[in-house]
């Protein structure tokens, strides 16, 4: 292959401006592909994280209770007319607040799964918060601070106080604290349908990024919540963070095979969001495909022109003893070189573009909408793809070059 590389490289180098232009064109196309791929990935991750708030990637819940009627209606009997007609009405059961059966065993099972990064058991149920004359209904959630923070990054969402849920402590959302007029160190009364409740001291105030969420949750210690919700020793759900956000559904399916509980991923519980994201991904794919196609057509047309320009040289090479296969490969290699250089430049420009845009695009709270970072996996596959694309684009010109009749080509 050395011969092919040497000749291909010389041909490209002699192409001068023509070669420079097509490489710049390819680099810009690839830069845009790299940028939009990285941008979309970051943006979607950001959207999901903001939208999900404290929703975990995967949630384990007890199986729903279903009513099992002791007596089934006999359709055949009633149609004959001689059997007694049975009037029955099976009503679905209301779902009680229940603990996950043998949840410690389930947690042990979950730990065995390599995709699971963090596990947090919790107790959640309805309750009431009271301070003076004001009452607010809310969800009282009992957590173990450390694992819960690992799953939901609640520690990063605290705007005041500390993530501390010892007995007698409570964490409130920003908007709820404002509604109640409480701050760090103040006390509120929490009560539930099953417990008259007690007073708790506000240890921390958090902001989940959405007003309704900030009004909805109050965090207490796991044991406290178990007492309030009358579920001693139990947990109502187990929340899980997995390694890859987009892989949550597969992990959920895997997990559902190992434990006898309900397993739901964020993808199932946020169908609308997922549909919006998929459409976004589809659009981006189309844009990327179009850019790739434009680059390929550009490379093909430039090489086609090069074949015409170099007809005589190809004829000489053929006459001197260069086989058709070698001439073919000389042009395929040119496509590969254009793809390779274009990809390397394109990745660099794409990263620069991401750096620039991350400074320009900000979200509602003034923070960066996405962070530019070096994604070597993306660069690797982009480069690989660009080289393949270059070779494929060169196929037509290369075939044409290889088919030139040397006797005629020399006379050109």
């Amino acid at each position: 292959m050395r011969f092919e590389w040497i000749v291909a490289w010389r041909f490209l180098r002699e192409g001068g401006l023509q070669t420079a232009l097509i490489i710049i064109g390819a680099a810009l196309g690839i830069a845009f592909i790299v940028f939009i791929t990285g941008f979309l990935g970051e943006l979607q991750r950001d959207i999901v994280q903001r939208t999900l708030g404290v929703q975990p990637h995967v949630t384990i819940k007890p199986l729903e209770e279903v009513a099992r009627p002791l007596r089934q209606g006999d359709a055949r009997g009633s149609s004959r007319g001689d059997a007694p007609i049975v009037l029955s009405d099976v009503q679905p059961r209301g779902q009680r607040l229940r603990s996950i059966d043998q949840w410690q065993a389930a947690v042990a099972r979950l730990r065995e799964n390599p995709d699971v990064r963090a596990i947090s058991p919790l107790v959640a149920g309805p309750g009431l918060v009271t301070r003076g004359d004001s009452n607010k209904s809310l969800s009282i959630i009992g957590i173990v601070a450390q694992p819960y923070a690992a799953v939901t990054r609640l520690d990063q969402k605290l705007i005041a106080g500390t993530l501390q849920v010892d007995p007698g402590d409570v964490l409130l959302g920003r908007d709820l604290a404002e509604d109640l007029g409480v701050g760090i160190g103040d006390t509120v009364r929490l009560s539930t349908p099953t417990s008259p409740g007690d007073t708790y001291r506000v240890r921390g105030i958090f902001d989940l990024g959405a007003k309704n969420l900030n009004q909805l949750y109050a965090y207490v210690g796991l044991a406290t919540a178990q007492a309030l919700h009358a579920l001693p020793g139990g947990v109502t759900s187990i929340e899980i963070t997995v390694d890859d956000l987009w892989d949550a559904q597969r992990v959920a399916s895997d997990l559902s095979l190992t434990i006898p509980h309900r397993v739901e991923s964020w993808i199932q519980t946020n169908q609308q969001l997922m549909v919006a994201l998929s459409n976004q991904t589809l659009m981006t794919r189309m844009i990327r495909f179009t850019f790739g196609l434009v680059v390929a057509i550009g490379v093909a047309s430039v090489l086609m022109v090069a074949v015409v320009q170099k007809t005589r040289e190809i004829g000489i090479l053929r006459a001197m003893g260069t086989s058709r296969g070698r001439v073919l490969r000389v042009f395929l290699v040119q496509g590969a070189i254009i793809g390779l250089i274009g990809a390397v430049l394109g990745c660099a420009v794409g990263y620069a573009l991401a750096l620039f845009m991350s400074g320009v695009l900000t979200s509602a709270d003034g923070s960066r909408l996405f962070n530019a970072h070096l994604d070597f996996r993306l660069y690797f596959f982009t480069t690989l793809g660009a080289v393949v694309l270059g070779v494929v684009s060169a196929a037509l010109p290369a075939r044409r070059a290889a088919r030139l009749d040397p006797a005629q080509a020399i006379r050109m």
Partner: protein, 247 residues
Amino acid sequence: MNTARTAAPIVSLSGVHKRFNEGLPNETEVLHGIDLTVEAGEFASLIGPSGSGKSTLLNLLGLLDRPSAGEYLLKGVPTGTASDDERTQARLDTLGFVFQFHHLLPEFSALENVMLPGLMRDGAFTPANRASARELLAAVGLSDAMEKRPGELSGGMQQRVAIARALALAPDLVLADEPTGNLDTHSADEAFALLRRFNRERGCAFIVVTHDPRLAARCDRVIELRDGMIERDGPVASATDAPDPKR
């Protein structure tokens, strides 16, 4: 190198016809039954008026085209049924080409142009290849111009590079198509003298297509084509009006 190949002539054509546009209404036969033998080390000129079929015959000899009928043995090996790759390999191993318009590759220096056949054979620029290319360029008097691109050389110099390139792999037969047709008299004489010298020193056979009767007279053998047939084939008329030593 040329002592062992007494068995078969380099070129042996028998009853070779060449038709263009075969099977079409405008079919034309350019060569009508050519019989030709060229032995190792011969120095022959191929002359004839325009349209007599010189270039067509040279293309056939150079394995750039296939005869419509008849047989062509190159070093005793039939070429009629050879695949394109086999013919390409035979061109690389056995033949050298010198064209009228030099046809050097402008992307490569003079030295690299001479090294190209070696690059094709070995797949890389080897030191041995470089050494022999330097030697050849020195032999054609271009020691000072080795690193120059063809565009920086005069026509005569370019043709000398082309001659060196044709000889790079020590071919058995060099086919030269009007090698001096595009040069001034002085450069033409120089280039022709080089061909003769390589013929004498290296023993490879030459077939030189030329319009110039002066040059034809300085060859050992003249093959004259007229209307697609060999009209005359024999040694140069007399030794007296064409002195054998160059100039």
